[in-house]
Symmetry: C2
Subunit: 368 residues, 2 copies
C-alpha cells in the first residue's frame, strides 16, 4: 500500500501548465552578470514559456566565464554583448536577467530599470535595506519591474501544487510553517571568491533564506510578518570565517500564522541531491509536507507532496500536474503591465524579511 | 530501490535490549492517580523489565475509573488500595507511578518521596516553577527519585537509536534540532474536564513540549538552553478557550546547538495514528530524521529512522534493534541508587525548559 495519487484523484483538480505566453520573438531577453548558475534556470524557465534569448553578456571571472560559455552554447541565436550598455540601448530587449554578485544586484537592477527595461534577478535580490529602499524608489520612478527568482517555490512543482491545495481548502487555515533549506557547499574551488565574502553575498539569511520567507508569505497568505528571532553561525567551516553555514529564524504574521526555518550549507556527500529541502504546512484541518528535491532513501524522485487531512493520507505526485506557471505569467505581466505571476510588493516583502532576519542575526552575533 | 537497512548493516552495531532488570518480586510498584492513559505505558514498560504491580489505587472520576478498571484487569495480581497511605505505608513498594492531574503531580510526588519511595510521573512532571523548586528540595531532603515518563523518546525505539547513532558519530556534531509533536485531540468527551482547564494541565508547552525539551537536551548533549522565543495559541477550538491547541518555541544551548519545535492538538481524522511526530537532527556530517509513530502514506509502520551522512542515504529499521532500555535501567537505578537510565538533573532540566517556555509564552499572550 503506497498511497500514491494524482491531485485530481483526491478531489483537487489543478490547471495544467500554461503554454507559451507569447509569439516567437515577442519577448526578447538578455542574460547578464553570470555569477550564479541560477541564471541558467531563469533563462530555461523563460525560454520554455516563449521568451527568446537575444543577448548574453559574458564575464571574465573564471566561474562566470564558464557559465556564460555554457549559455552561449545553449542559446546560439543570442548575440554576445560587449557591454551592458549595448543591451540597455537595444529597444527590442524587454527583460534583463542577472545573477550578479549579490551586493551588486540592486545597482544593476536600477540601471536596467532606468533604461526602461524590466529586471529579473537571482535571489537574494539585494544585500541591504538601503538598497531595498533605493530599488523601491526606482520601481516607483521608472514604472519597471524588479523581480526575483525565488526558485525554491517558483521552479518547484510540488511547491506550486501546495499553494493550489491550500487555496482549495485541503488543510483549512494555515497555522504554522516549518522550512528546511539545506544546501551542499561542494568543493570550495567550485565556488567563486565572492561566495565566501560576507559583504558580497550578504549573509545566509539575506541569501538562501529569502526563499524561505517568500514561501511563508505565500502559504500563509500574508505580505508581512514580525520577526521573533534570527541566528547565524559558522559551525563547520573554520577556513572560511565569513561564510555563514547555518542560519535560522522565526516569525509571526498578522493573521497569527507563524514560521520557523533553518538553512545551511551542510548537505553531506552521500545524499543523492544537493539538499533535502522540506516544507511542512500545518493547517487547522490537515498538514502538507513537501519533499522538494528528494524523497530520502526512496525512488520517488523529487516533487512529492504528502497530505493528510480529515479525508486522506496520501503521497501526491506533483510532477506533471500544475507545472511552474510563474514564467509564462511573468512574461505576460511584462508585456501587459499586470501582476498575475506575483506582485512587486510580494517580491519586496520577501526580500525585506530576509534582510531584517539577517540584520537581527548580525546584531546578535556582534553583541556576543 | 528502497534503502532499508538495519543499523549494524551500515556499521552501527547496537546493544540488544536488556533482559529483566531484577528477579521476580524484587521490584514491586504501585499505580496511582490514573488520570492519563500514559500510566498504562509506564506500567507496561516497567513490568516488561521485571517489575511487578503490587498496588493499584482506583479513582472515582469516570475517565480515571475506566483506566484503573483496565489496569486491574491487566494486573490481577495487584491489590486494590483503599487510599494512598495504604501504599505509602507498605515497606515492600519501591516505586509509585502516577499520572495525576498535571497540577497535582508535584504534591503527590513529594508525598511519595517523603514516605521513602521513588516516584515516576507522567509528563509534564509539574506545572509551575515553584513546584519544581519544592520538588528539587524534596529530592535533596529525601534522597528519593522524582522521574518523569518522557515517552516520546524513552518509549520510542527509533528515538533511542538516534541517540546511539549520534554517540557513534553518524552525523558529526549536533548543530540543530527540529521537533514536531502533533497530537490528536479526539472527541472532547473522551477527555476529562481537567484536560481543558489551563490551571490543571498547565499549558501546552508545560505539557507536551516537555517531551520536546527532553529530546533536545539529549540529542544536543546539554543540560540547559537559553529560550529564544515561545508562543501558544488556540487556533481551532473556540469552544474550549483555555485549551492551547498550538505551541512553538526555540532555544540555543551553551554548545551552540539550537532547537525549534512546534506542538499541537490538530491531528486530522484521516491520519492513521495519533500524530506524525518527527525529529530532524542536523549534524555537521549528516542528518537524522525520525518518523516516530508513522511514516506517512507508506506501510513501514512506526519507528523509522532516516539517515544521510558522508557515506549513506538510508531508511533504517529501528524496531527490534536497541529496544527501549530506559525501564530496565531505571529499575536498576532505583535498586542500586545509581543514575544510568537518566540523571535526576536531566529530568529537572527538561521540565524546567518546558515550564520556562510556557511562562514566556503566557507573558507574551497576556501582553497582547
Amino acid at each position: 500500500m503506497l498511497h500514491t495519487v494524482l491531485p485530481h484523484e483526491i478531489g483537487f483538480p489543478v490547471e495544467p501548465p500554461p503554454g507559451p505566453a507569447c509569439a516567437p520573438g515577442e519577448f526578447p531577453i538578455a542574460l547578464v552578470a553570470p555569477h550564479h548558475g541560477h541564471l541558467g534556470g531563469m533563462a530555461a524557465g523563460l525560454v520554455g514559456s516563449g521568451a527568446n534569448v537575444r543577448w548574453i553578456l559574458p564575464d571574465d571571472e573564471p566561474h562566470a566565464r564558464k557559465l556564460s560559455d555554457t549559455l552561449c552554447a545553449r542559446y546560439p541565436e543570442a548575440r554576445v554583448a560587449r557591454c551592458l550598455d549595448e543591451i540597455l540601448d537595444d529597444p527590442e530587449t524587454r527583460l534583463v536577467c542577472g545573477a550578479d554578485i549579490t551586493a551588486r544586484r540592486a545597482e544593476l537592477g536600477i540601471r536596467v530599470m532606468e533604461a526602461g527595461k524590466d529586471y529579473f534577478t537571482d535571489k537574494g535580490p539585494m544585500t541591504t535595506l538601503a538598497q531595498l529602499t533605493a530599488v523601491r524608489e526606482a520601481v516607483d520612478r521608472t514604472g519597471r519591474k524588479y523581480y526575483c527568482y525565488y526558485c525554491e517555490r517558483l521552479a518547484s512543482e510540488c511547491s506550486i501544487l501546495a499553494g493550489e491545495l491550500i487555496r482549495q481548502g485541503a488543510i483549512g487555515r494555515v497555522v504554522h510553517v516549518i522550512g528546511m533549506g539545506p544546501h551542499r557547499l561542494g568543493p570550495p574551488e567550485s565556488r567563486p571568491d565572492w561566495f565566501f565574502r560576507k559583504a558580497d553575498y550578504g549573509g545566509i539569511l539575506c541569501d538562501i533564506a529569502a526563499h524561505q520567507c517568500e514561501q511563508f508569505l505565500t502559504y500563509a497568505g500574508v505580505e508581512t510578518a514580525d520577526i521573533i528571532s534570527a541566528r547565524v553561525a559558522n559551525v563547520a567551516h573554520p577556513d572560511f570565517p565569513e561564510l555563514e553555514d547555518f542560519g535560522e529564524a522565526s516569525m509571526v504574521a498578522p493573521n497569527g500564522a507563524s514560521f520557523q526555518f533553518r538553512v545551511d550549507w551542510l548537505t553531506p556527500d552521500a545524499l543523492h541531491t544537493w539538499g533535502d529541502g522540506r516544507i511542512f504546512i500545518l493547517g487547522t484541518e490537515g498538514t502538507i509536507e513537501l519533499r522538494k528535491y528528494i524523497d530520502v532513501a526512496t525512488d520517488y524522485g523529487d516533487n512529492r507532496l504528502y497530505l493528510f487531512n480529515q479525508k486522506h493520507e496520501v503521497n501526491v505526485q506533483a510532477k506533471g500536474t500544475c507545472g511552474t506557471p510563474f514564467f509564462a505569467r511573468f512574461i505576460r505581466d511584462c508585456l501587459d503591465r499586470t501582476e498575475t505571476a506575483m506582485t512587486q510588493a510580494h517580491v519586496f516583502a520577501a526580500a525585506e524579511l530576509g534582510l531584517r532576519c539577517q540584520l537581527l542575526a548580525d546584531q546578535a552575533r556582534a553583541a556576543q
